[in-house]
Subunit: 571 residues, 2 copies
């Protein structure tokens, strides 16, 4: 008899729920809910271009609509029945912290605070806290350098403490009104479990370790005296947060009577530990030692694991190495790129701007046309080189205060050439990450990709294979984060309840890769070796890498020469 | 009784004729003829992106249609009569050489050669001869360094010898078939004068001195032994070219019976010395000591003059300082930027690409919208910085093998922000030229602009005033090159024929500036001081300026900080 679990995936613009058959990982029901607030779910402020918030009410409403919808669709499957659902798992964007009151209610749903953007959820890509991030890095480097070791040496403006501290500075009333702060990844499981007290929220080590400088090595969150150096109020807050954070597999709670009733599910089924979309995406992609999972969407998150018995040094510029953050018993290693799909979206929607006259399919049609035209180009043929930093650089420079760069353009440069150059730039960024990981002892001999772009954009995947010199495999499921969350729920429920006793067993049954894969073209790879070298000259020069020795005076000429060789080769 | 002269202006895409009242410079008749061949008059080759040629047949047909049309329109003026026309002057793009046969016929009009692109006119912006230009510079630097002094130290791929030598290499049959080569600026006056022998073509010092390394200091064209080092056939060609080149004011000929008949004009009226559009544009803008004339169109040409009695050193990176090239008795000083209007055209037509659905006015509408949006931005507010090198750098780096650069872009960067950044980049390039000229003793205390952009784009002109910290005046005539050619014809005809005895007197009557001028905003200028510094860091680094010490690691951050300050200032 089949058992089912539910995975709920909170993305940047929408939330998706899937109902999964634990026997084979097949999705039998799915539903997406687009956040109704702001611009595509993101609250913006014209005066603060770096601000990106979300309305927590969208999360709750999305939970109800998406899960109900997915279950309703699952009813169409002949073996499905609601009583066979044995657990629910949740993954979210992160770090996306929000302030809550003493009863685990978001401040933002209180009419007193709802107009205040600081009381809403601080979306991962909110970059208002650059000054705080810099001060945290500086203070830690001086007084507690150990805090920076697992997070790549630099604290980011996208992360927990930067955002909470910025809130304290710009909206002290919101800060004072918050009984505690929670990551979205912890908030939703607590909601499902009917947690009505702020101190009852169970915290996942994935958010804690990667974003809040939590480590058992120093007894949990950063020491009180460290936080006091930032602001005494942050030190006070520490006591209202948490002492312990837990890996996946440990339950976050049991489904409350209230939500069980809403969904027609059994009360008390397992609520899995929350986790970030990337980590559960890696689980749903079948991550194992030696496998790099790339979740390629608006941004990219790279995940690898290494047995805790392995001697993995801290890797400079890699955002996080945290014990148990992806699967218990392994270091979870996380890296990422801040703008990947977003970079192409910017080019198409922000610059090429299909006219309203071209209809609602205009944007997709332009993407498709540019992909087709870009695919006809040989590597090096455009003469262009870009840096993929329109949203800063997350790995390996860990610097949000970097910006995009495009060079090599002539009066004949086309949209499609730039489109391809932007894809290539993200591929070079991806390669920089792989090289850094290998340099520090992390084995990478297999790359599995998932996310919207991996699914749909063949040109993109081929360029990645050619730039990395490595086959690109595609995860079997198009919804790996939700699948990973559902898989986590199956492991959390356990074999006795119809789930699994272990992660490997669950992955063997529930995950896989597609037959279609992208293998490197040796000729293209050879050109990309040269182009990657040029990318690194610019990357290192503008990224402030110590000892960078770019030869800028010849750089444009080298690209031109390559371009001319390609033009000649075409004749 | 009024006298009239005709000015004929050969541009990149069309030829324009004007009939001018010599008493006041008023245009009483005008006609434009678009070259019918190629793409907007330019012959291209998909396999050679740097190739740009023109069909000489278009020039002849254009001469007939444009002059006839302008005269026809002039008939509408009540004081005009064809017998009152006392001269005709011609200005053209340059260096635009073409091969001719022994009878001063372009090879390209011969069916034997018409399919061969090498037999057509080599348009100024043809960049196929980069290797030859480099070899000429190298050879001259080694054996005849004096040759490089008046041309800024570097011979360009846009110039006479590079192009002819490239023709010899790639199309030796064309080279061998040519009795001689002529600049377009000399060819048209010779046609009008009925010159039917190649050796009868009168040559202007403006083309000879700026593009063909002609100087009285070494007795004309470069020595035969120098040319023989390049190729013995070039040394042979020297004898079939010319010994002497002449300044404006000296007649190029008299109107032939044939053309007089075609136009209904008197046979034998003055045909002025040909000249480049920029130089005659400077004359038509009222150039004098201390005045910089900027002719701003697809590209920009900057002209200044200095009395031949002044001690003006050779200025490195300034394309030319030639005795008598603009007006007799003065050094003509020429600089320029390879892409100005073309840069905006590329952005709008190549990248923003108004859809066909938006109608024939689509391109203009997009330019207008982007101008309006860009005008609403404060200096520094976009965070962007561009280099204006999509078509190489003519001054002060003299390097066609440079390409465009844009940096500072985020995911929110708009078309209008880039549009403004491109305008600003050309303004920084303009400032680099002014600074270089002043540094070497050329007085510049007044800037007069002409050309399509100066006429129409207020945002562009204001940015130039703010970046240069100098008022931008606008020439009184919208057609200064044609007016300058007509003025030259009036001086050449002389006071006895109803023209003028001297240039200053002719300019006082025939030229002026508009009341409307653009004055620098001190606040904007202060920001542009900082931004120009950043531009120069990039310019010097990528341009290979010796001793460049850019601080690239902080460059993006400095732009971001400026951007944030502007955003704060708006609140």
């Amino acid at each position: 008899m089949s058992a089912y679990t539910i995975g709920v995936d909170y993305g940047t613009n929408s939330v998706r729920a899937v109902v999964v058959d634990t026997a084979n990982g097949h999705v039998v029901g799915t539903r997406v809910f687009d956040y109704p607030s702001g611009e595509q779910g993101v609250l913006l402020d014209a005066r603060q271009p770096h601000l990106a918030r979300q309305n927590p009410a969208d999360y709750i409403e999305g939970l109800r609509v998406a899960v109900s919808g997915a279950l309703h669709e699952a009813e169409g499957d002949r073996t499905f029945a609601r009583e066979r659902v044995i657990g629910i798992g949740v993954d979210t964007t992160g770090s996306t912290p929000l302030p809550i009151d003493a009863h685990n209610r978001p401040l933002a749903v209180n009419p007193r605070w709802e107009a205040n953007l600081a009381a809403h959820a601080w979306l991962w890509k909110d970059h208002t806290s650059a000054a705080e991030a810099a001060a945290i890095t500086e203070t830690a480097a001086r007084y507690n350098p150990e805090l920076l070791e697992p997070i790549g040496g630099t604290y980011s403006s996208e992360w927990w403490w930067s955002k909470i501290w910025h809130c304290l500075k710009v909206a002290p009333d919101v800060f004072d009104a918050a009984a505690s702060w929670v990551e979205l990844a912890d908030f939703i499981p607590a909601v499902l479990s009917g947690v009505h007290e702020a101190h009852g929220v169970v915290r996942c080590v994935c958010a804690a370790g990667h974003k809040a400088m939590y480590s058992e090595a120093w007894g949990g969150l950063p020491p009180k005296d460290f936080l006091a150096r930032l602001d005494p109020k942050l030190a006070d807050l520490r006591g209202r947060l948490y002492d312990r954070a837990l890996p996946p597999g440990t339950p976050a709670g049991q489904l409350s009577a209230d939500w069980a009733h809403k969904f027609g599910l059994r009360e008390g089924i397992a609520v899995a530990m929350g986790g970030f979309d990337a980590h559960y995406g890696a689980v749903g992609s079948g991550i194992r030692t030696g496998t790099l999972v790339k979740i390629i969407g608006t941004s990219t998150c790279d995940c690898a694991i290494a047995p805790t018995s392995a001697h993995i040094a801290n890797v400079p510029g890699i955002c996080g190495i945290v014990n148990g953050s992806i699967m218990p018993g392994y270091f979870g290693i996380e890296a990422g790129q801040s703008a990947v799909g977003d970079l192409l979206k910017w080019w198409v929607e922000g610059i090429c701007k299909p006219s309203p006259a071209s209809g609602p399919g205009g944007v997709d049609a332009v993407h498709e046309q540019l992909s087709t035209d870009a695919a006809a180009l040989a590597p090096g043929e455009s003469g262009l080189m870009a840096l993929d930093w329109n949203n800063g650089n997350r790995t390996i420079l860990v610097d949000t205060r970097l910006t995009g760069l495009l060079l090599g353009q002539t009066l004949h440069t086309t949209r499609a050439e730039v489109y391809r150059a932007l894809i290539e730039a993200t591929a070079y960024g991806a390669r920089a990450i792989v090289e850094r990981l290998r340099e520090y002892g992390v084995t990478i001999d297999r790359v599995v990709c998932c996310g919207g772009i991996a699914e749909k954009n063949d040109l993109f995947m081929q360029i990645y294979a050619d730039v990395l010199g490595q086959p690109m495999l595609i995860a079997g499921s198009p919804q790996t984060p939700a699948l990973g969350a559902a898989l986590s729920a199956a492991v959390t429920a356990g074999a006795g309840a119809g789930g699994y006793a272990g992660w490997q067993e669950a992955q063997d049954h529930m995950t896989g890769v597609k037959e279609k894969a992208f293998t490197p073209n040796p000729e293209a790879h050879a050109v990309y070796e040269v182009l990657y070298g040029i990318y690194r000259e610019l990357h290192d020069a503008f990224g402030g890498v110590a000892g960078a020795r770019p030869d800028l005076a010849t750089l444009m000429k080298r690209l031109l020469t390559l371009k001319e060789q390609k033009a000649v080769a075409r004749v």
